[in-house]
């Protein structure tokens, strides 16, 4: 990047918080995503507030510099891989938390991680009930920007469902506030669907392509203290999927419901069984691992009893190994990261949603590509709200074997097409889906028009949101 531009950036954030050093740029060339090759930016800045970000975007627009917005750098689908010689704006210094106890909401800066927020809220007996599996490194705002999900989503839906409003710096450097807080006289965040269309929603899952989310206002809830942990086994996917729907229809408060194939669970247990204290056993064709949570014990007991009955009514059996769901839930900030790392491989993923009654189709498609290309992988899923299941295929490769990785790249590409045709919905519109979403041409064109209207110079993360 030209030194004169770097000087302009330094005037905004101070010399200390701008870097063009080779080593620094190298570390911003990648993220937790193993699905994209590194790309070295031209400069990285660490602003402290929305006003500085506005000034930075002015400079970027003036010089037509592509901008990548990054917070925790934990995203897995190439969302924050910069453009060559582009500008990375890292948001970790935006770190305030403001609680609105009477409004059951909290406003957090874009640099606040789930772990930090959870510690803060727990002092008040509250929580944000959904957290991604990367909760210790991931910021709340970052997860809103990718419309994530995770433990808690089985009851409360995706992260986007928790959002009451956003502070956004638009590409033209204007700062806007959405939701009830758009009224400067409002007492705080209490209503998202205010002032006409859901502008908040426009930015949820926008992958930093439409503006910079500088703070997020989220719903908070009384922290649940009562939990029931159990596993339920089924001999067919139909039984398992019916059970998931029965739980929903009967308002069983399952905060985290995962669905595993027998061989996948065996694979996990081979690696993690000892850590979890689970003896070797033969797992059924499909297993549901479930945590039911309630703020009242009597309600929990009622739900737990009902869940057991529903399992048996749908032809399943209660397995009763509580350690597994308990580890999943109590260790949710760390356990999933551990499960992803313990085997030693790197992987590509292709997050998507299915309906609970169609989740087996994802399993079938990934099994097909695994057989065709000859690699190890799996997919499991967890319920994410009203009638959806988050599926997360993992395609493993050896990071020191370029041929192995090339094979996975090809399989990954193929899987995007085949999965889409099963009815899969890519809630994170990562660039891998570009050209794979037959029948969405008009939708994608409309999205492109929106982007052009908001970001006429196309400086914000170009090419990332579905390739736009």
């Amino acid at each position: 990047m030209k030194p004169s531009i770097v000087n302009e950036l330094a005037q905004v954030v101070g010399e200390k918080f701008v870097s063009t050093r080779e080593d620094v740029l190298h570390t911003y060339a990648s993220s937790a995503s193993m699905a994209k090759n590194p790309v070295r930016p031209g400069a990285v800045v660490r602003p402290s507030d929305a006003d500085e970000i506005a000034a930075l975007l002015k400079i970027a627009n003036k010089h037509q510099i592509p901008v990548t917005i990054r917070s925790g750098g934990t995203s897995l689908q190439g969302e924050v891989i910069p453009k060559p010689d582009g500008l990375v704006i890292e948001l970790m210094r935006l770190n305030g938390i403001q609680l609105f106890e009477d409004l059951r909401s909290v406003r957090v800066g874009a640099g606040v991680t789930y772990g930090e927020l959870d510690k803060f809220l727990s002092k008040h007996g509250l929580w944000l009930p959904i957290s991604p599996e990367s909760a210790l490194g991931c910021t709340v705002a970052g997860n809103v920007a990718v419309n994530g999900a995770g433990p808690g989503s089985s009851l409360f839906g995706c992260t986007g469902e928790m959002v009451l409003g956003l502070e956004i710096v638009l590409p033209n450097s204007e700062k806007i506030q959405t939701g009830s807080e758009a009224n400067p006289y409002a007492p705080g965040p209490f209503l998202r669907y205010a002032f006409g269309p859901d502008i908040t929603g426009l930015f949820i899952g926008s992958l930093g392509s439409l503006g910079v989310i500088t703070s997020v206002s989220m719903k908070v809830f009384k922290r649940m203290e009562f939990f029931d942990y159990n596993m339920y086994g089924f001999d067919s996917y139909q039984q398992a999927e019916k059970f998931l729907m029965e739980l929903k229809d009967n308002d069983v408060n399952a905060v985290f419901t995962s669905l595993y194939e027998g061989p996948v669970l065996e694979f996990f247990m081979e690696m993690m069984g000892d850590e979890y204290g689970i003896p070797p056993m033969e797992w059924p064709y499909r297993t549901v691992s479930m945590t039911i949570g309630r703020v009242r014990e009597d309600m929990l007991k009622s739900d737990a009893k009902l869940a057991r009955n529903l399992c048996e009514q749908t032809g399943g059996r209660v397995i009763g190994i509580e350690q597994f769901p308990k580890n999943e839930w109590e260790g949710r900030f760390w356990t999933f990261v551990r499960a992803c790392y313990v085997h030693g491989w790197h992987w590509r993923t292709l997050y998507h949603h299915q309906t609970p009654t169609n989740s087996h189709r994802s399993v079938e498609e990934i099994t097909k590509v695994m057989d065709k290309y000859g690699f190890l992988g799996h997919t499991a899923g967890f319920v994410t709200g009203h009638a959806s299941t988050n599926m997360y295929p993992h395609l493993y490769f050896d990071p020191v074997d370029p041929e192995d990785e090339a094979k996975i790249v090809e399989a990954h590409d193929e899987l995007a097409s085949t999965l889409f045709k099963t009815g899969a919905v890519p809630f994170k519109l990562a660039p891998f889906w570009k050209g794979r979403m037959e029948g969405t041409e008009k939708y994608m064109e409309f999205l492109s028009q929106l982007k052009r209207a908001i970001d006429p110079n196309n400086i914000m993360n170009p090419g990332v949101l579905g390739g736009i």
Binding site: S19, A32, Y341
Partner: protein, 386 residues
């Protein structure tokens, strides 16, 4: 140390999947309240914490980054405190692997590393002090301590040459318990800092010299008052060089035995509120967390309050891994940050069990203009001995 296989090293570094939880994780259920003191006390770019350091290491190894002093800065701007290892979910030890990277890349320019190694080689201490002053503190005490005995007090360079109160009070505790002990005439440096900074070959030669010197004293048990000496003599010599050592004990471990055997009689100190700083080498590396606390709590009138985080998730004082020499301003800044946390406990005294931590915490205290006293466990224990 065995020859490093670069493919194995790369494979191990690639265990890092760049999740970034080594930056600033707050995980209340497991006691984590922040991870990397470097990230917190610098401009905070990715190179400041372990995820970035590993990416830099890989790039320096495979040539993606040119091997310059600037590109290597992040490798040395690390206290190797190991808090990242505590939170890391992958199957490797980031802090230890960074030590290996420093060794493999030890042709990279680093003036402070080289100066320290040369000083240890030429005058047996990293401070380039006159080695003949090693036993001056003993003369000041007026104790007649021999140079050979079954129990050896291995004083260490910082206690012997910089914070001699620790050496004096250790000796007075041993004396009060009627322990016959020796102190070497020309005690060599344990070589810890050589290992941490990547001068492993010199560290091996130095270790052989240390072992010979210890053997010459006839010691069957070696007591140390420095957390770094403990880790080096008890763990590194055997693991890295295959050297067998006599029993090595930190004074907090030995004092615990003395207290259990009623060999030390303690008087009450005047209702003082203290907090404890876990040295990384004593805590995370050697898993000695309770002994110093038990000693402090054994002293009547002393009220121990914990700083958060503590034990295996404690934040480093900023002195280790060669950082104090490589970037002393940053090192002091980290110590000042740590002192702020101690102030929040309401304690008037910070107790540690490592002279290097104490040196840096005092520096941090000055930077912060704090009025908290920083002492070693042996200082406190000595005050209470009747």
């Amino acid at each position: 140390m065995t020859e490093i296989d670069l493919d194995d090293l790369r494979e191990e570094l690639l265990q890092c999947r760049r999740c970034g939880i080594c930056r600033n994780s707050v995980y209340e259920a497991k006691g984590f309240d922040g991870i990397c003191p470097i990230w917190r006390n610098t401009s905070g770019f990715e190179t400041s914490f372990m995820r970035g350091k590993i990416q830099v290491a890989l790039a320096l190894l495979d040539g993606t980054l040119e091997r310059t002093a600037e590109n290597a800065e992040s490798l040395y701007q690390c206290a190797l405190c190991g808090n990242c290892t505590q939170i890391c979910a992958a199957e490797f030890h980031p802090a230890h692997i960074m030590e290996t990277v420093r060794y493999v890349l030890n042709e990279l320019p680093n003036e402070s590393r080289d100066k320290i190694a040369e000083s240890i080689k030429s005058v047996d201490n990293p401070y380039n002090e006159d080695p003949s002053s090693r036993r001056v503190w003993l003369e000041e005490l007026g104790l007649n301590v021999p140079t050979s005995s079954e129990i050896l007090y291995f004083v260490g360079c910082t206690s012997g040459l910089r914070i001699q109160n620790i050496a004096k009070n250790t000796a007075l505790i041993l004396n009060a318990a009627k322990t016959d002990f020796a102190v070497m005439e020309n005690e060599p440096c344990c070589g810890s800092v050589m290992m941490r900074t990547g001068r492993m070959e010199e560290a091996r030669e130095n270790a052989e010299k240390v072992v010979d010197a210890i053997k010459a004293t006839g010691a069957k048990k070696v007591i140390v008052s420095c957390a770094g000496c403990l880790k080096t003599l008890r763990k590194d010599y055997s693991e890295k060089f295959g050297i067998e050592m006599p029993e090595i004990l930190h004074i907090v471990e030995y004092s615990k035995e003395l207290l259990a055997e009623n060999k030390l009689k303690l008087k009450s100190l005047d209702n003082i509120k203290v907090t404890y700083h876990d040295p990384c080498h004593l805590g995370r590396e050697m898993e000695i967390y309770e002994e110093p606390r038990e000693i402090i709590q054994a002293i009547p009138g002393v009220n121990l309050v914990e700083v958060n985080p503590n034990r295996n998730t404690a934040i480093c004082c900023g002195a280790g891994g060669g950082l104090r020499s490589y970037d002393s301003d940053l090192s002091r800044k980290i110590a000042a940050d740590r002192m702020k946390a101690f102030e929040e406990t309401g304690a008037k005294t910070v107790v540690s069990a490592c002279p290097f931590c104490e040196t840096n915490l005092i520096a941090g205290s000055k930077l912060l203009d704090s009025d908290i006293e920083v002492v070693d466990v042996v200082d406190l224990l000595r005050r209470a001995i009747e």
